[in-house]
């Protein structure tokens, strides 16, 4: 619907293609990379997950032992719970800001493209850079927030935002919203701009109020775009690692260990490589399920435009 200039042409049918194996030569480098650095590792992960695999020494076959351990691993369950909690909250927060922003920058007005660019800037820097920037801003002694709040008389003394779970969580949410909202805004913007202006105009002439137009026209027509933005936000958030590693080191009280962080700890800190692989397979299964759900959701959007 928003294929701007990039078309799948029907040229395919006009001209016979050169057949044979030469085409395989062209795609060979890509296939080699995907095979060695993606397909093999995935298969290898499955294989490793069925072993007790220490860093040094011989791996030992233990069948589904790692998976049995996983189900009763309270810390893994805590990581799953925390990741789900984080994903839900951050997605809601991003949408709550990105949707109004998308509507704000939709109409062509003076300076609007400058606003768009500025809002988008944090998207192109790394999450690691953003985390480093914000962990300083949130620092109790040398940062911005605590001293500023104290100076404005909002708090008695300086609050250490990163020492308490709730405030540390809130800080990270604000940071991620700052970093990601521009991305979601642009996705939503493509959906908004795909709504034909005549439709909105017609609804206005028919006397639909602003809220009615939004509720009964904009929202239904945005289904597909919103589904896409939602899925991107959810899959991205489930894989969160940098911000927890850099900003809070998983603290306070190790309550900010996300799934990827836990896999990292098991695999590369405790060197339980087999168990780490089993956890990875669980993560992989979750993500693939979401991807399949995504395809289904987008198709549903197609049937009911």
């Amino acid at each position: 619907m928003t294929m701007s200039g990039i078309a799948f042409p029907s040229l395919h049918h006009r001209k016979r293609k050169r057949s044979g194996w030469r085409g395989l030569l062209y795609i060979a480098p890509a296939m080699a990379l995907v095979t060695v650095f993606f397909v093999l590792p995935v298969l290898f992960t499955v294989w490793m997950s069925l072993h007790k695999w220490p860093l040094l020494g011989k791996p030992a076959w233990i069948g589904f032992g790692n998976y049995v351990r996983m189900v009763s691993d309270a810390r893994f369950m805590a990581a799953l719970g925390f990741t789900a909690h984080y994903t839900i909250i951050v997605t809601i927060a991003i949408f709550a800001l990105a949707f109004p922003l998308a509507m704000f920058v939709e109409k062509p007005r003076p300076l609007v493209s400058a606003y768009r660019t500025i809002i988008f800037l944090p998207v192109v820097v790394g999450l690691a850079s953003a985390s480093l920037l914000w962990v300083w801003l949130a620092n109790v002694d040398s940062g911005l927030f605590a001293p500023l709040m104290q100076r404005l008389g909002l708090t008695n003394g300086r609050i250490n935002l990163l020492a308490d779970f709730d405030t540390a969580f809130l800080t990270i949410i604000v940071m991620v919203v700052w970093k990601i909202a521009g991305f979601t805004m642009i996705i939503l913007l493509t959906g908004l701009q795909a709504i034909p202006a005549e439709l909105t105009e017609a609804a206005r002439i028919d006397g639909a109020r602003r809220w009615q137009r939004f509720r009964y026209l904009t929202l239904p027509l945005m289904r597909r775009t919103m589904a896409l933005a939602l899925i991107l936000s959810v899959t991205g958030s489930i894989l969160a690692f940098d911000q927890f590693y850099i900003m809070t080191s998983g603290g306070p009280q190790n309550r900010m260990i996300s799934v990827v962080y836990y896999i990292f700890n098991q695999s590369f800190v405790s060197f339980n490589l087999g168990y780490g692989a089993a956890l990875s397979i669980a993560l992989l299964a979750i993500l693939v399920t979401i991807s399949i759900f995504q395809l289904w959701l987008l198709n549903v959007g197609d049937e009911r435009p």
Binding site: M3, I27, L121, G126, L284
Partner: protein
């Protein structure tokens, strides 16, 4: 009549003030952290522990923070070069591999063509975070453990689904007649691809390049896991040492200097090539 026009003019003015009020407030929220961090990186060492109120240096611009940053690891130049080598290498390899593959998928017919294309795209579904352990082992077997080249190959692979998709579409959009004409003139295969078609798919290459550069430059997790020796660290991995501090004391000036070194190239690349970046984003979004 006159009052009516006046009322309308006043309403328009109020509208405009409200619009730009919101706009400026929003822009401030998104720009301020960059500005504060950037300004603070030029404060002298004596001020680096103070809150950024105000953020600018009070006693003259100083490069203390950058000097202290330089004292970490093998020096900031070395690590910037590491990051640059990995990022630019990723760009070159990604472009080379995806141009070839895009051309192959667009212009040739061969066995299992669709299945192989879907396989490349389907790797998007699988988070690379879940296959890092075997990647670590495979790279070690190839003698590429703790190597920037190994990391580069991993980054290229991660870029492939998006890049091959982009390049195939770019080649699909090139009219066949151009190719036929060049063929009659005697250009064949790779020469045809490089001399005749490459200039026509330059916008696609620009898009692929900018995404490859930014993703490789910013990537943290794989670099953290796959690089084990100090002098090979890319900037984000180096920064974990700076952020951890020395003897329990963190030099926040050095942290902000590091952030500036990491952030400024991204912003410049984006602002210069914004058009191509957005094109890629839209193409990815509708995929």
């Amino acid at each position: 009549m006159r009052t009516r026009r006046e009322i309308r003019a006043r309403k328009a003015l109020r509208d405009r003030v409200a619009f730009h009020g919101v706009g400026i407030g929003t822009a401030f929220f998104f720009l301020a952290p960059f500005g504060i961090g950037f300004l603070a990186s030029f404060r002298p060492n004596s001020e680096s522990g103070l809150p950024p109120l105000p953020p600018w240096p009070l006693s003259g611009i100083s490069f203390d923070a950058y000097r202290i940053l330089d004292g970490f690891g093998s020096g900031v130049w070395q690590h910037t070069m590491n990051s640059l080598v990995v990022s630019l290498g990723t760009v070159v390899l990604t472009v080379a591999v995806s141009v070839l593959a895009g051309y192959g998928f667009s212009r040739y017919r061969f066995p299992l063509k669709n299945a192989l294309f879907v396989l490349i795209i389907a790797t998007l579904m699988i988070p690379f975070q879940s296959i890092l352990t075997p990647l670590f082992i495979i790279l070690a077997r190839l003698g590429l453990n703790n190597s920037l080249f190994g990391l580069m190959l991993v980054y290229v692979t991660l870029q492939l689904p998006f890049s091959v998709f982009m390049m195939r579409n770019a080649f699909d959009a090139v009219p066949k007649e151009i190719e036929e004409a060049a063929r009659i003139d005697g250009a064949r295969d790779l020469r045809l691809l490089v001399r005749v078609l490459l200039p026509l798919v330059m916008p696609g290459i620009a898009t692929v390049s900018i995404f490859a550069f930014l993703n490789a430059w910013n990537e943290f997790f794989a670099a953290l896991v796959l690089l084990s020796s100090n002098d090979n660290y890319t900037l984000p991995v180096l920064m974990t040492a700076v952020r951890a501090g020395r003897l329990g004391a963190i030099n926040w000036g050095a942290v902000q200097a590091g952030v500036a070194v990491m952030v400024v190239p991204c912003l410049i690349v984006f602002l210069l090539l914004q058009r191509y970046y957005m094109r890629g984003l839209m193409a990815g979004a509708v995929k």
